[in-house]
Symmetry: C2
Subunit: 168 residues, 2 copies
Amino acid sequence: MKTPSAAEEPRWLTEEEQRTWLAYVHGTTLLDDHLDRQLQRDAGMPHLYYHLLVVLSGAPQRRLRMTELAMHTKITRSRLSHAIARLEKNGWVRREDCPSDKRGQFAVLTEGGFETLEKSAPGHVAAVRQALFDRLSPEQQKALGEIMEIIAEGLQPKEAGADLPWLR
Amino acid sequence: MKTPSAAEEPRWLTEEEQRTWLAYVHGTTLLDDHLDRQLQRDAGMPHLYYHLLVVLSGAPQRRLRMTELAMHTKITRSRLSHAIARLEKNGWVRREDCPSDKRGQFAVLTEGGFETLEKSAPGHVAAVRQALFDRLSPEQQKALGEIMEIIAEGLQPKEAGADLPWLR
DNA sequence: TCTCTATTGTTCAAATTTCAAGAAGGGTGC
DNA sequence: GCACCCTTCTTGAAATTTGAACAATAGAGA
């Protein structure tokens, strides 16, 4: 008979799981750092900020409500508020009031923001290629996509009350 | 004849590559956030700090030179200095002078730090399992480990002059 | 020994992120 | 209209991270 569930010995990671997890932490830490530096150097902003511009550039009329943008980028609205404020100072984004909801704000990619994006996109793509795609076989690329989609989906449960960053 | 290489059209990501990359960004962003919150709630520290304790606990005599610890965790010495200072305030780590190199410092896991680790480890492992391993097939786990090792290796070139965080 | 360069680790200030709180509008039921 | 709760977004302070500069020591070579 086993001990009560509250005192159950946790299922530790196997050695192979530990290796996998450590590789995950190392790989993501190094890649984050690498892209943040590359973009800070070549575009004057960290990766997240660059990604915000990318998402805006692909949205209808290059604009998105704050909460939607937070949702698309998987971050909190607070973090987004600060980030947009900074991008606004750079002249790369401007805010616009939402006509149908007086609480709402649009983040709009400016022409200057778009140009900055165009200038820095080649370097960024090259960095992602060099660090990631150029090193992986087609099978590994496919696997990585599937794996990351599973992880992302798992952390965004559909149920009400889920702890999602953009609802905090 | 093609245009000079400096003006070469960059190799943009294919649609599938874009999906993979977006999934990567989403998955890692959400998982980072998830673990930081879980550990902040249950152990009173972010994931990196927890990981520092883990690495120290596995080192000989539960101690490591600062630069070694930075190397093991893929971060800069500056970041590590701040982190260790905070962990020291918590009583989870202490510093010790290195007898053979007067510049050197050891970060040493204290008994209190070890106990904190023991208390929070089950919850952390459970979170990693739930978010990652429980959702992936054995093949996917294997693939993820291999992929992340490739990425990590690629970002740590052996050549002199490489831009490694712990040498900055 | 002396000099020059490299390594080690820290520090300050600026930038970013987190967290808790709050202002303001929307929407429902009465 | 009003009371109530929810959503939207922002704000300020604390925590963390980055980047540059620095002091101290190590190590190599003349």
